[in-house]
């Protein structure tokens, strides 16, 4: 009963999103609640950007709901799972369509908690619950900054409505705009798992594959890029914030691509590549390429969801996440092989996939902006991406491997549809001037990607059973641990907080508590003195009462 409802509900919302996309831009609003200061409004804000992203979100969610029926067939927790995916879709749509920044924040946080629940889907496993907590806390840390950014902009503009905030940007002081933009970036960096808040996303792969596809690839993690695009006038008015974004993006895209190059867990490879591809979007935003960023957001959503769903199919067939236990699957799982090949090609930016067009547009925008730092970072990433994609492709589908069977049709149908979209979506971009491929960037990025592919292939051909990543020797450990950032956080932040907590608990119990208990025993000692007066003689009591009454009466008269 759950499955038809889940699919039907998502399909209806997808239809609604398509209708919104066909309508003109509009905005509705009603006061949700007075606050004593700026009121919070509730309403929809529909423009080209938001309706396009809404269509993407609902269609991917639909594909994932269909796929999950097959993927979760033997899982007793499927109803909870489907409900949470539905709630997540609602939250993401709130982020996309909200007319008020605080409503956007409501959706933003609910997405986070859905992500927490879904990562912890297998909650009897300690690794899953630990990953869930880590992801929630790291993103919530960012979200607090995000909320403060909303405060800065909302109070500066005198309204939390997005339209008003954007309209008020020219009237706000540059300091206000910069503070607001930088604080928003803290939340964006956390949600999009960019450096230095990146380490939760690979761990989040403890969740089921459809969750990784929807939340940790296509939608939630990309919401940061969406918000920057939505509030782009704010960021354009704060160039320093865009520079910061550029540095974060370049560091994240190269660092995570290196990590993806050596990781053995297929889903973690994809997670690192998600970080890297999100950085590509941020790089585009940092150099003024808003359209290019959104086009890459859309194409990435499709091909990365496809890749995760394929990975889910492969993992469920093989029974392991590790590529060292896969291999040779191209014959036995031909449909998964074909569709995942399309996904990998899109990730590596091979024409004519959507990934080729959108990534190329980003490279071109960096070139136009004469931002050679971002330009070089993007080209290097293109090479690394092609290399780790080739490695993953070869390690999964070629060489020796186990004997397995293709997955059910419920799962392959969404794969095929997404693969078709991933192949065709790029051509839609040709309608827009800024998305058409350009000669220099195309040639350069294709050449560098080609080097990456060929290099990995040559190393792999020497011994197909061996991991090409072994050839880089000791660097493998460094890359694989994402340059040790996780261990660093574990040793400093996590342990520091726990030590502080133990200390507080100890102090509270001994110092503060004992002094209070001291007053307790002190009072009892005092009571012992008073007990002397309680000698049981009624005359004594009556005298005392009378004397008190006289005293009070005198007191009242004097006081007046």
């Amino acid at each position: 009963m759950t499955a038809p409802l889940a699919i039907l509900g998502t399909a209806i919302s997808a239809a609604g999103a398509v209708v919104l996309a066909l309508l003109e831009s509009f905005e509705t609003r009603a006061t949700l609640t007075p606050t004593g200061t700026i009121p919070i409004t509730i309403g929809l804000r529909v423009d080209d950007l938001s309706s396009t992203v809404a269509v993407m979100v609902t269609l991917i969610a639909l594909a994932i709901q269909v796929y999950s029926v097959g993927y979760m067939k033997h899982d007793v927790r499927y109803p909870t799972f489907a409900t949470l995916v539905g709630l997540f879709t609602l939250a993401m749509l709130t982020v996309v369509l909200a007319a008020d920044l605080l409503m956007l924040y409501v959706g933003w946080e609910i997405m986070g908690v859905c992500s927490y629940f879904l990562i912890g889907h297998h909650w009897e496993k300690p690794s899953a619950t630990a990953a869930a907590i880590k992801s929630f806390l790291m993103t919530r840390f960012g979200d607090v900054g995000f909320l403060f950014g909303i405060f800065v902009l909302g109070v500066g503009a005198g309204s939390f409505r997005i339209t008003d905030v954007i309209a008020a940007v020219p009237t706000m002081s540059s300091g206000t705009v910069l503070t607001g933009a930088l604080l928003l970036l803290v939340g964006v960096v956390g949600k999009a798992a960019q450096f230095p808040l990146h380490s939760w996303l690979p761990d989040a792969m403890a969740g089921p594959a459809p969750v990784s596809a929807l939340i940790h690839a296509a939608t939630m993690v990309a919401a940061g890029a969406y918000v920057v695009a939505l509030l782009y006038p704010v960021f354009l008015a704060a160039p320093l914030a865009l520079d910061v974004l550029a540095v974060i993006a370049v560091v994240s895209m190269i660092g995570s691509a290196l990590a993806a190059l050596v990781t053995d867990d297929l889903k973690r490879v994809l997670a690192y590549s998600t970080i890297s591809q999100l950085s590509v979007m941020f790089a585009a935003l940092a150099v003024g390429g808003r359209t290019q960023a959104i086009s890459h957001l859309l194409s990435h959503a499709v091909f990365k969801a496809l890749l995760f769903l394929c990975a889910g199919a492969v993992i469920i067939a093989v029974g392991s996440n590790l590529m060292s236990e896969m291999g040779g699957l191209r014959r036995r799982m031909s449909l998964s092989f074909l569709t995942m090949t399309v996904g990998f090609a899109a990730l590596a930016g091979i024409p004519p996939t959507a990934g080729f067009f959108s990534k190329d547009a980003v490279v071109a925008s960096a070139e136009h902006a004469h931002n050679w730092f971002v330009f070089a970072g993007l080209l290097l990433t293109a090479g690394l991406t092609a290399a780790y994609t080739t490695r993953a492709w070869l390690r999964t589908f070629f060489g020796p491997g186990p004997d397995v069977r293709e997955v059910s049709k419920l799962m392959t149908v969404p794969l095929a549809s997404l693969a078709v979209v991933a192949l065709g979506l790029g051509f839609v971009g040709l309608w827009f001037d800024e998305l058409r491929p350009e000669l220099i960037s195309t040639v350069l990025s294709l050449a560098i990607a080609g080097i990456g592919v060929v290099a990995v292939f040559l190393i792999w051909r020497r011994d197909p059973a061996k991991d090409p990543a072994d050839s880089i020797g000791r660097l493998r450990g460094v890359f694989g641990s994402a340059f040790g950032t996780d261990t660093l956080y574990e040793r400093t932040v996590a342990r520091g907080v726990m030590r502080l907590a133990d200390e507080v608990a100890r102090v509270d119990d001994s110092v503060v508590g004992r002094s209070v208990r001291g007053t307790g025993s002190g009072a009892r000692a005092l009571g012992g003195l008073l007990r002397l007066t309680q000698n049981g003689n009624p005359q004594y009591y009556v005298t005392a009462v009378l004397a008190s009454v006289v005293l009070i009466a005198v007191g009242v008269v004097v006081m007046r």
Binding site: T33, G36, T37, E109, T129, R140, A501, V556, R560
Partner: protein, 495 residues
């Protein structure tokens, strides 16, 4: 002259006496009385015209003429939500206490003490005379002491004694503060004093009086570092006692700050507010850290109350409409959520024989799925997930700290805001760790053989209103904020 506030007090008082006279039907008397009181509270909420300034449904007759003390009752948008919350929690507590197998020993004494507590709590929220307020404030203490000492856990004696001594000490300080106000203004009428707005008292007197009044109330809040009675009292109190203690008693302190300290002593408030704010945010972080190291569920939730009340204090300390609304909203939200949490932990203790997380052992999502799902919802609401009740109050408190009243040190308040934000992350941390230890994970095999009962019908009857309200208030915060925002607007406008 309105009978509603009088009835609000008279009905539970009559029930209190009636319960003493009965024996076996005590719980029935309690149920009927609290039920009627709840209906009266709802009627009160609907008969107030929130758009009109001032207090409503007023009863004002001389009480002790020589001292100028009047029996002055009335409500406005500030007190109505608290009145409804109090009546609701008392009613639900009675339902919980009346369930089969859950009836306490000596039910007539238990019920009558509980009803006496209700009289005091409701009286505190409807009193408009300083001494009347103080009397009701005190009326609550004794029955609560008796509830802890008579029906509590193993260490109930010391815990109850600490509770009564500590809070009485606070009351003493509060009384001195109220007398200082009286000596300088010759009136005890809260409405009249609020209209005076501090005229007749020099700056020094105001500051001194504010410190005394706020200091006395801060014990009840409880404000860090005056909180140490709370974890002990909670961990030893019976479930219903904990629910009322956290759900209502703590609010008497913050309500007193808003009703008395701010409007009557505005100069004092401006001088002392930054200290309130500082202690509030220290409380948030301190409580969160203490919770991270906690092994006992009841103590954890008790400490979490200190943190939540820190947000309330932060809101009050901004002296803005937004901040006071935040405080009032967070009060209601905390009452609903923490009331629910204590009910759930009481349920856990009955089923697993302990509130110690290590002894419960984990995996309760498998053993008692509905109970655990409710625990998850309450925990998530408590750390302030948007869309649930806990969010709006804390968000508004931080927003108010971002933009405090003119004359306050803004950079200082920005620091408060950031510290509160860090506290919010830590709050999420300890609740998630708690869920990981208790609800998630695997359970010991003997638990399965023991056969754990999931939520019973009586329990769901007592708990579901809270769950529903946590969602309703979270999705539609205007339900609480609309009445309070009007009242607070008049409040600050009239100063």
């Amino acid at each position: 002259m309105s009978v509603l506030p009088i009835l609000l007090l008279a009905v539970p008082l009559a029930g209190c006496l009636a319960a003493l006279a009965t024996h076996r039907t005590a719980t029935a008397v309690g149920l009927v009385t609290t039920g009627i009181t709840f209906v009266l509270a709802v009627v009160t909420a609907f008969s107030v015209d929130y758009v009109r300034p001032g207090t409503h449904l007023i009863t004002d007759v001389p009480w002790i003429p020589p001292l100028g003390i009047r029996f002055h009752l009335g409500v406005d948008g500030v007190s109505v939500p608290l009145v409804v919350l109090t009546a609701l929690l008392c009613f639900l507590s009675m339902i919980y206490g009346a369930r089969r197998g859950g009836t306490p020993d000596r039910p007539h004494a238990f019920v009558s003490l509980l009803l006496l507590t209700e009289v005091g709590m409701l009286g505190t929220f409807v009193a408009l005379d300083l001494l009347l307020f103080f009397v009701f404030f005190e009326v609550v203490l004794i029955p609560m002491y008796a509830l802890i000492a008579g029906w509590g856990g193993a260490q109930r004696g010391p815990a109850a004694r600490q509770f009564i001594l500590y809070t009485l000490l606070g009351s003493g300080v509060l009384l001195v503060g109220l007398l200082v106000v009286y000596l300088h203004t010759s009136t005890l009428d809260i409405v009249a004093l609020a209209e005076l707005g501090g005229t007749g008292m020099s700056h020094t007197v105001q500051v001194a009086a504010f410190v005394l009044v706020a200091g006395g109330l801060a014990v009840k809040v409880p404000m860090w570092p005056l909180h140490t009675w709370l974890p002990d009292a909670h961990s030893e109190a019976p479930t219903v006692g904990s629910v009322l203690l956290a759900g209502v008693l703590l609010k008497m302190g913050t309500y007193g700050l808003i009703r008395i300290a701010l409007p009557i002593l505005p100069d004092g408030a401006r001088a002392v507010a930054p200290f309130l704010g500082a202690l509030g945010v220290i409380g948030i972080v301190y409580a969160a850290l203490a919770c991270l190291a906690q092994r006992n569920l009841k103590r954890l939730i008790a400490f979490s109350s200190v943190g939540h009340m820190g947000f309330v204090l932060l809101g009050i300390s901004t002296l803005t409409a937004a901040g006071i609304n935040a405080a009032l909203f967070a009060n209601i939200a905390h009452g609903l959520i923490t009331g629910l949490l204590f009910f759930l932990v009481g349920g856990m203790a009955e089923r697993f024989g302990s509130t110690d997380m290590d002894k419960i052992g984990g995996g309760t999502l498998t053993l008692a799925p509905r109970l655990s799902v409710l625990l998850v919802i309450a925990a998530v609401a408590s750390f302030g997930l948007p869309g649930l009740a806990g969010f709006w109050g804390e968000m508004l408190a931080m927003l108010a700290a971002f933009d405090p009243a003119p004359g306050l040190n803004r950079p200082l308040y920005l620091v408060f805001m950031v510290v509160a934000g860090i506290g919010a992350v830590l709050t999420a941390a300890y609740f998630l760790v708690m869920l990981r230890r208790v609800a998630q994970g695997t359970f010991a095999a003997w638990r399965k053989d023991q056969g754990v009962l999931d939520v019973t019908r009586a329990e769901s009857l007592a708990w579901s209103p809270l769950v529903v309200l946590v969602f309703v208030v979270g999705i539609w915060p205007g339900l609480v904020l609309a009445p309070t925002a009007e009242a607070v607007g008049f409040y600050l406008g009239g100063r």
